[in-house]
């Protein structure tokens, strides 16, 4: 039990610290790396509460795909981030003030939070106990029944994202040579190669 608590605090601390560094790091590549660190430690937190499916998804999707994509984008774009930060200091005092006020207020709010028994009863989603069923199985069961509406809606959302990405970036340029596989495959020897009987020593 003590070990679990210790691990939790270690992971939690690293997550928060990495989150801060994402914002604070000077080099954008470092920012993305800190983001990856935050993902990893959150995955650890998920494992700790027994949600191994979520932990794996987090590592595979976020670390494996999203964060690496970020890394590529950041490294390929030629943006001078230092220049972008110039306004930062100018607004720091008032920004810090607002942030501080909000932070204090939110801490007060969270401090006042109490988990009443009725609340915890409502929070529990109708899934079987972790021991009885595998994580993946349990998720699948609610995802396609209870949450079918949200699942479908999310699907439409991704469709829109895909259309949007294509609309905003795909350009059909003129004069670009493209691979026409069907034509390549359908080509026969007669069209491609002409055999000439060349006598030695005579030239064509």
């Amino acid at each position: 039990m003590v070990l679990q608590g210790l691990v939790f605090y270690v992971f939690a601390f690293i997550t928060v610290a990495a989150g801060c560094m994402v914002v604070a790091a000077r080099n954008p590549v470092h920012s993305v790396l800190f983001l990856i660190l935050a993902f990893f430690t959150s995955a650890g937190l998920f494992v700790l509460i027994g949600a191994e499916f979520l932990a794996m998804i987090l590592v595979i999707v976020y670390v494996g795909a999203v964060a690496v994509l970020f890394l590529f984008v950041v490294m390929m774009l030629d943006i001078n981030f230092v220049e972008l930060r110039e306004g930062f200091l100018q607004y720091l005092p008032i920004g810090a003030l607002i942030g501080l006020i909000l932070l204090i207020e939110l801490l007060l709010v969270l401090g006042g939070m109490r988990l009443t028994p009725e609340l915890t009863r409502q929070t529990a989603a109708p899934i079987a106990a972790l021991a009885a069923e595998s994580n993946t199985h349990a998720l699948g069961q609610v995802l396609y029944t209870r949450y079918i509406y949200l699942f479908q809606a999310a699907g439409m959302l991704l469709l829109v994202a895909m259309i949007g990405a294509i609309v905003l970036t795909l350009r059909s340029r003129e004069g670009v040579r493209r691979q026409a596989i069907a034509r390549q495959v359908g080509r026969r020897r007669e069209e491609a190669v002409e055999l000439k009987q060349v006598q030695p020593g005579q030239g064509v």
Binding site: M113, E118, Q122, Y149, M156, I163, G164
Partner: protein, 485 residues
């Protein structure tokens, strides 16, 4: 484990739109951009079918998908309005996209998907459903705002809208998580039940509502979450702006009403102050900031901010009267704005769109009919009786007075007096100033139809208002009763 009930028939309009969007997308992908017109008409047909489904749906409240999706009289009214507004938006853009090289088949599909998101917003009965509906709508609109990707201003508009929208979404989600944390549920009905059992709402819940309201206020562009509106309205292609100005406003305000009244009906006094603040700030800013504008689209942006302020008065008033007033206001607002933007879309000089307010000078002499239509809309927006705009404001103010929000009503009247100044300035420009260069006379059949229909609506509303008033009344009753039950 109990299986939640899924009544798919309740979501028939949404499913029609989703299926149509995917079919039209496939069709467009195979036929290329020359099929845009067909796709657009297909989208209109889908909207029409959805409208029929909405109109003939049985009355009464029904929930489905584990109480996440609700259909009641309020949803019917708002959905019908959204579908009509979306159809108007698509019709108005037909000519523009052909002329301005925006003729790509994704455009109507994206608008259709945005409309789908709006319907989901209207029917959302759960914080998650609310969030997904908003995101679906917004994401599609971010893309259409930047649809002219080679136009620097349009791209900037799209990007700004996207970034700020993400911030707003963040606030909204934060609010949702706070509400979830303090009530233990995301369903509106369940939250209402929890709150009724508690003597006093926890402060964290109020803070959650503030954040939630901030996210919603961004979507309806209420002050101080309005800052994107003028830039995006000005930068986006004009028909897109027209669409922004009518359809999402209706959906977002309807969602706003439901998200306040259904779960938080028990603590009206607590969130009322937020809405009052938003309403006052929006009305005042909308009235004052519009005065200095020289770009008509920017002016319309401030005008719409002001209008949202008036509509929010109805929500602040709460109760069936207030909600009825909002719905009436929205119906009138859609007609006025669609008509005004149709006029703006007719502002072409030798093939190029112009957007300056000064370009309207002398329109009364160059194109008397167009000028008359625009004058009707401007008078209506200014709230001159007996045009429709007057009744919109009238009902809202009456609702405020009945709810004893006298200060709000007085500020509203004052703001509309200031606001009348810039509407009437346009009328003055059109009729009393030296003519600027004449616009192209060819207006196009669709645009003429939109102009005539909306202008007629605005003019004769006073005589034939009864069905709309009754419909809005029943819808409002349904929402208020649903929140209590």
């Amino acid at each position: 484990m109990a299986q939640p009930s899924h009544d798919f028939a309740l979501a028939a309009p949404e499913m029609v739109l989703a299926a149509a969007a995917m079919l039209l997308l496939m069709f467009g992908a195979f036929r290329g951009n020359q099929a845009t017109r067909v796709v657009a008409w297909g989208a209109l047909a889908a909207l029409a079918i959805a409208l029929v489904l909405v109109l003939q749906a049985p009355a009464g409240r029904a929930v489905s998908f584990a109480d996440m999706f609700v259909v009641d009289g309020f949803a019917h009214f708002a959905k019908a309005l959204v579908l009509l507004a979306a159809a108007l938006g698509i019709v108005m853009s037909l000519g523009f996209i052909r002329r301005e090289g925006m003729e790509r088949f994704e455009y109507p599909v994206l608008l259709l998907l945005a409309t789908l998101g709006m319907l989901m917003m209207v029917s959302a009965n759960d914080l998650l459903a609310l969030y997904l509906g908003i995101e679906l709508q917004s994401l599609a609109l971010y893309v259409v705002a930047a649809f002219q990707r080679d136009n620097l201003r349009a791209s900037e508009a799209g990007l700004k809208y996207f970034v700020l929208g993400a911030v707003a979404s963040g606030m909204l989600l934060y609010g949702c998580s706070l509400i979830y944390g303090f009530t233990g549920t995301t369903g509106f009905d369940a939250i209402a039940a929890t709150l009724k059992a508690q003597p006093e709402p926890p402060l964290g819940l109020i803070v959650g509502i503030v954040f939630l309201t901030a996210g919603l206020a961004f979507k309806v562009s209420a002050v101080p979450f309005h800052m994107w509106t003028p830039d995006v309205y000005e930068g986006a292609p004009t028909p897109v702006t027209a669409f922004f100005a009518i359809a999402p406003k209706v959906a977002a305000l309807a969602l706003f009403c439901r998200a306040m009244l259904t779960p938080f009906a028990a603590i009206v006094a607590d969130w009322q102050q937020i809405v009052v603040f938003l309403a006052i700030a929006s009305m005042l800013l909308g009235a004052f900031a519009a005065i200095g504008q020289n770009n008509i689209k920017r002016l319309m942006a401030y005008s719409s901010i002001g209008h949202v302020g008036y509509a929010l008065i109805g929500l602040a008033a709460g109760g069936a009267g207030g909600i009825q007033a909002i719905l009436i206001y929205l119906a009138i607002y859609v007609a006025m704005n669609a008509g005004t933007f149709a006029c703006i879309l007719c502002m072409r000089v030798r093939g190029d769109m112009v957007e300056g307010v000064g370009d309207l000078a002398g329109l009364g002499r160059n194109q008397p009919l167009l000028a008359l239509a625009l004058a009707i809309f401007m008078f209506s927006m200014a709230g001159v009786p007996p045009l429709a705009g007057f009744f919109g404001k009238f009902y809202v103010f009456v609702a405020a007075i009945e709810a004893k929000l006298y200060v709000l009503a007085v500020i509203g009247v004052l703001a509309s007096a200031v606001g009348a100044y810039y509407y009437l300035r346009i009328v003055k420009l059109m009729y009393f100033d030296e003519p600027a260069e004449a616009f192209e006379r060819r207006v196009g059949g669709e645009m003429a139809a939109v102009l005539v229909v909306t202008a007629l609506f605005v003019v004769v509303f006073a005589l034939f208002a009864a069905p709309i008033l009754d419909g809005a009344g029943t819808a409002a009753q349904a929402l208020v009763a649903g929140g209590k039950g």
